[in-house]
């Protein structure tokens, strides 16, 4: 009888696990990875590889350093660092030197995630923090975007935030189709092709990993806020289709660890995220999705506090007669 397990109910469980969820997130990022490589060539592939390898490597080295057994590290490896590495690679410009993704990944994993206790304990989104670390350290490179090598090329290198900015500055605008496909738009490796992002998001929704209506709310709010700030309805499509908003909303803001728990809390989170992205974008001129995510992440405990749900059969406590 020694092999009989003794534990509390429930004795059966659904097949999902953190590992499976993270593997699915990796799969959902594949369309963006492929389109990044198609648009930006072999250098994009190198960037992605460097980011993923340094993320995974730094996690393993860190855990070895705190004297965990190698077998344990392998058996409990949950693919979160792969996701972090992939996202970091996808949100930096394609012409960034290879040491930039490496630095960003190592910072994200070691400082943001592992020092706080590993998966589930990080306060802010590691990928967003890694990107901002790189952005502050290497501002010039990180703020110089190249356009894909195929499609209608406006200018090979754009300095500045997004096509929204150029639309507002000189009135020239790209067609929505170009924005959607990312052809001729300068941007980051994975953020350029919106179609690929949407395919990945739909995959996540089908696998029930994200509630797809939440990021859609935030994207819509971002568009509306941009319209209000610019005073023209034409700003709506460029606002939602440019820069890192879509990628940030679907893949980074939906990160479980740094989200509120309840659905109600998530609604607040995503509305504020969308609004904050547009507002920061309008007043700073930088690509601000990552900043908005970081700011919202630190607000999560507060949102959690106000977003309580009433239990089934809840009745207002009756005031005791004095």
């Amino acid at each position: 009888m020694s092999n009989i397990l003794f534990s509390t109910s429930p004795h059966v469980r659904s097949g999902n696990s953190t590992k499976k969820i993270m593997q699915n997130v990796c799969i959902s990022l594949l369309p963006a990875v492929i389109m990044g490589i198609v648009y930006f060539g072999i250098f994009a592939l190198l960037t992605i590889l460097v980011a993923v390898v340094s993320a995974v490597g730094s996690e393993i080295v860190y855990r070895l350093a705190i004297k965990e057994k190698f077998e344990d590290i392998i058996s409990s490896f949950d693919y979160t660092s792969v996701v972090t590495g992939l996202i970091i690679a996808l949100i930096i410009p394609a012409n960034a030197h290879l040491y930039i993704p490496a630095f960003a990944s190592i910072f994200a994993i070691v400082v943001v995630k592992m020092l706080f206790g590993g998966t589930g304990y990080n306060l802010v989104n590691p990928a967003a923090a890694g990107r901002i670390f790189a952005f502050i350290s290497f501002t010039t490179v990180m703020n110089t975007f190249v356009a894909p090598s195929i499609g209608a090329i406006n200018s090979s290198v754009i300095t500045g935030a997004t096509s929204l900015q150029s639309f507002l500055n000189d009135g020239s605008s790209l067609s929505s189709i170009d924005l959607l496909l990312g052809t001729g738009v300068a941007g980051c490796i994975g953020e350029t092709c919106k179609i690929a992002i949407l395919i990945g998001a739909i995959y996540l929704a089908v696998k029930k990993i994200i509630k797809i209506w939440l990021p859609i709310i935030s994207v819509a709010v971002a568009g509306i806020v941009a319209v209000l700030l610019n005073g023209t309805i034409d700003a709506f499509l460029p606002a939602i289709l440019s820069g890192g908003l879509l990628f940030g909303a679907f893949f980074m803001a939906t990160d479980y660890v740094t989200n509120p728990v309840t659905t109600f809390g998530n609604v607040i989170f995503f509305i504020l995220f969308g609004a904050l992205t547009s507002i920061l974008r309008h007043f700073t001129g930088y690509e601000t999705a990552s900043f908005a995510i970081l700011m919202m992440n630190v607000l999560v405990p507060l949102i959690d506090k106000i977003s309580t749900v009433k239990p089934f059969g809840y009745t207002k406590p009756q005031k005791e007669a004095k």
Binding site: T8, S9, P311
Partner: protein, 439 residues
Amino acid sequence: MSIRKGKNYPYGIHVNDMKYLTENLAIENMPLPGKVFISMSQHIGAPAIPVVNVGDQVKKGQLIGKSCGAISANVFSSVSGTVVDVLDIVNAMGQKQKHVVIENDGLNEEVFLEEMTSFEPKDLIERIGLAGIVGLGGAGFPTAVKLSPKTQLDVLIINGAECEPYLNCDYRLMLERTDDIYKGIKYTAMALNINKIIIGIEANKPEAIKLFSEYKDLDVVILKKQYPMGSEKHLIYCTTGRKVPCGKMPFDVGACVQNIKTMIAVYEAIDLNIPLTQTVMTVSGLGIKNPKNLKVALGTSFNDIIEYCGGKSENTVKLVAGGPMMGKALISLDQYARKTDSGLLVLEKNEANVDKPTNCINCGRCADNCPMRLVPVRIEKSVLAGDYMMAKKYGVLNCLECGSCAYNCPAKRPLVQSFNFAKGKIREIQLKESQREGK
């Protein structure tokens, strides 16, 4: 009267129900074992007091444990033979309980309760109490107490949901003994002086729904296949639309919920004068050779039951008494069938929960699924931090322990365990506080 669809309740989970293992197997009578170990505490409340001594000759259906106190129940012998021992055995919950051991003499002599002469509500309730009937859905609350509410109720709800995976005993009984169940329901309704009777059946049991829709005075409600539909509070909501307030009981909204098996026991006690001496259980799981629906005598050893079903496989990792969602894991098979047992599961590795817990990733699945609308992750975190009063504030006392949160948890957190622990601690704290106030 009518068939209608139940109210939709959006919170709950869809489990892999595994009912196919025993769904189409008729209930078999398991031969009486050579020895039975009958527990004196097969119900909630005070244990019964043994009224037989070692060496006594007993017949099947003879009283061997007398109920003591307001909430307690009689216990009857399930075989005829000699009492060979009265001893303490540790049960599945880890509590020591008195068991009466009776050696079967194989004569199968039987005694019956007296014939009933009057069928007034109080006579019916008295008979139900005398026959040792308790809520057979799992809790084991003495039925006679449940049928004597302080206020007049207006609806009797029969729980035919059987939302636990694997278990099929209620379903088989509904198919095979429809008429007996109906009579039991009528007697129960008479005892409560209620005209409105609702039977809630999950949509995955169309044959049972068809059979019960024949009766003109039953209101058949088809429930969505969802776990935990069989929970009293949710059954009441889905069949009548009434919400049982937190911390209140079904009778506070005028409802009484009864289990299928209890209804059969009521019928047998009143019409056939047979006390409760047996239970119907589903023996299932991938680890058992021949899954079966079995009628077993109370006190039959689980070892005998497993052997009768062809034994368990080498790959067995878990033994469970009851359903897989709320049942108790067994550390050994030296346990004995009780009134409330409705399942004995032998689980293999690929169906059981054997994964080690990892860090919570805050995904919120537990909160999305909780049928009581709690936020399990917050409760667990406050329990882990040792802040039981915070857990209470987050509503841990409303928890049904249904396991919906832990079932879907990707990090495999032992959530229900935390909640049970917290409940115990909160009770301790409250006891201390009341003592302090007393001084």
